[in-house]
């Protein structure tokens, strides 16, 4: 069958020249370092979960999990304190909700303006300025909410507002996450191929139609990711709420009252002098675990959402 035999020696020579002449040590070292980096972050996450889990389990041996999850009174520092976490959850949700109401329209609006309307010169100035907002320490935002927003502005509009209130904390928290949302959404919109814009304009679209009906849908997965990151920051934010919203765990939806969030409880209780091993001390971890789970669920849910909307450009 085989009539043409390739020259055996030539073949061996060719094969030899393809063989690695010396091991690529540099390559291995880099690979090792990168693997180490990945392992460290995974291990850290595990460590956090376990350090939350162990005191939490101890906590739940004393306080039934149902009482914790569905109880409406949170008075851990009282004699015979109650550990119903709902006031903290509602505080977190109300303040985060206010932040979202502030941040999504303003953040997305800034992104649309920067990406579709602003001239190159304006964008060059505006985008870095906006990003400076992201660099302001949250403690500064917190005092701004308390001293300026509440005392000088909100009291004039809502005379009955409490000194510590959810509204000011939520608004300022919203302002804090605007740069995150604006900057990431703008990146997503800038990544939309210009051919799509040309296509829209060539069909007689106005600027607004091009932005709303073509660019935003095309950038949607990036925009949703920006929202999620912003909201995650809001939920995890501690300083602003600790300073401006007060530390009263109240089960209410009235934003003019003071509230306590899960994070501000952890911060306040953690900085106090609770005896290690006391039930109050363990409650910090139970709340932390709940916060972790809620954030985790939100992230999983939003990754799903992003995948569903993901559009690949050719």
């Amino acid at each position: 069958m085989s009539t043409i035999n390739p020259d055996a020696t030539a073949l061996t020579a060719a094969a030899n020249s393809l063989r690695r002449s010396k091991p690529h040590y540099g390559e291995r070292v880099i690979r090792g370092l990168l693997l180490l980096a990945a392992v460290v972050s995974v291990l850290t996450t595990f460590g956090i979960v376990i350090s939350l889990l162990i005191p939490s389990i101890e906590f739940f041996t004393e306080i039934p999990i149902g009482d914790f999850l569905f109880g409406t009174t949170w008075t851990p520092l009282f004699m015979n304190g109650e550990f119903g976490v709902l006031p903290l959850v509602s505080g977190t949700l109300v303040i985060t909700g206010i932040a979202i109401i502030v941040a999504i329209p303003l953040g997305l609006g800034s992104a649309i303006y920067l990406s579709e309307y602003a001239s190159l010169r304006v964008r060059k100035v505006l985008k870095p300025t906006l990003e400076v907002l992201a660099g302001i320490p949250t403690v500064v935002f917190g005092f701004f909410a308390l001293e300026f927003l509440t005392q000088l502005v909100l009291v004039k509009i809502f005379p009955g507002i409490e000194v510590f209130n959810a509204l000011s904390a939520g608004i300022i928290m919203g302002i804090m996450i605007i740069p995150t949302i604006a900057s990431l959404s703008e990146d997503a919109m800038a990544a939309v191929p210009s051919g799509l814009r040309d296509g829209a304009y060539a069909l007689g679209s106005t600027k607004r139609q091009t932005a709303m009906k073509v660019v935003i849908p095309a950038a949607l997965s990036g925009i949703v990711a920006a929202f999620v990151l912003g909201i995650s920051r809001a939920i995890g934010e501690t300083m602003i709420v600790t300073i401006a919203a007060g530390l009263q765990p109240q089960l209410t939806l009235n934003p003019l009252q003071g509230m306590q969030t899960m994070t501000s409880y952890i911060a306040a209780a953690g900085s106090g002098d609770l005896a290690t091993g006391s039930i109050e001390y363990k409650s910090i971890f139970a709340v932390g675990l709940l916060l972790f789970i809620l954030t985790f669920i939100m992230n999983v849910f939003s990754i799903r959402l992003v995948r569903r909307f993901r559009q690949v450009y050719q």
Binding site: G195, A202, L203, S205
Partner: protein
């Protein structure tokens, strides 16, 4: 003994598009360019073009890369307005109206003068939504089903996609996407279709489909096509404009219109030496 493919352009008359042998003066002109120059900032990319575009004809723009064909084409529907610093001088008259006149709305111009681009730029939406997009933004209300079917049929795509209208347009092949773009374009009922190298990213089979389609579309539309492919210009167009880029006294390159005429004449007996060199492959 196989010789490599040479760029020899042996034109038989069968390669030429038949049907519109009317002299241009006997046809209605849709566009009439008078001394048009287009600038990017201070740079004059193409200068002093005077050219008519005949109704229901296919006019091809050919010439080497960078000679300003796309630039000139974009001045037909004011797409140059979108490029900061771009400016058009001279008169671009559309049915007698200067489209750069003070009262002219570029959006109205673009509704009448559609455009197909080099890279198929389908929107990240369903096939159906792509076709319905133009009518929607132009405020045409109602049910788009019939319109979508009609436009996809005219773009020779209906049979391939009729069961997948809800599918993402990105699922289509490059050639199908380009036909979808054409369907999307005719859905706003334009009068003129501009095509800037519509087959540049397509394989020969997809290219042949688009070329056939152009012949069909020319019955109802006026088409201006930029192409790198001279055989394509010869095959599909009625009239051809040949451009080139030349150095001026200051050593700056500007695009110029060298020759314009019926495609058959321009290819068989070019009157300018530069045209002859280009079409015989000795240049560019």
């Amino acid at each position: 003994m196989s010789t490599p493919d040479e760029v020899t352009l042996k034109l038989s008359s069968s390669m030429l598009r038949h049907g519109s042998e009317l002299p241009l003066h006997a046809r209605e002109t849709v566009f009439s360019l008078d001394d048009v120059s287009v600038f990017y900032g201070d740079y004059e990319a193409i200068r002093n073009v005077t050219l008519p575009i005949g109704k229901n004809e296919i006019t091809a723009f050919i010439g080497p890369s960078g000679c300003g064909k796309s630039t000139l084409l974009r001045s037909f529907n004011r797409m140059n307005d979108l490029i900061p610093g771009a400016r058009v001088q001279g008169t671009v008259a559309y049915h007698g109206t200067d489209i750069y006149g003070p009262d002219v709305d570029p959006i109205e111009v673009r509704r009448r003068v559609g455009m197909v681009f080099q890279k198929p730029n389908v929107f990240p939406k369903s096939i159906y939504e792509n076709v319905a997009y133009g009518p929607k933004v132009n405020g045409i209300k109602g049910n788009y089903d019939d319109l979508v079917e009609e436009c996809l049929t005219r773009a020779a795509l209906w049979n391939e996609v009729k069961d997948d209208l809800k599918k993402s347009a990105y699922a289509l092949s490059g050639g199908q996407q380009q036909r979808l773009v054409i369907a999307r374009c005719i859905a706003v009922r334009p009068d003129v279709i501009l095509m800037d190298e519509p087959c540049a990213s397509l394989d020969p089979i997809a290219t042949a489909k688009i070329e056939d389609l152009m012949g069909e579309l020319a019955k109802d539309y006026t088409i201006v096509i930029v192409t790198h492919n001279m055989q394509q210009a010869a095959r599909v167009s009625d009239r051809t404009a040949f451009f080139t880029a030349e150095l001026d006294d200051n050593g700056i390159r500007h695009g110029r219109l060298v020759e314009f005429g019926p495609t058959r004449e321009l290819f068989s007996s070019p009157s300018d030496k530069r045209t002859e060199d280009y079409i015989s492959g000795r240049f560019g």
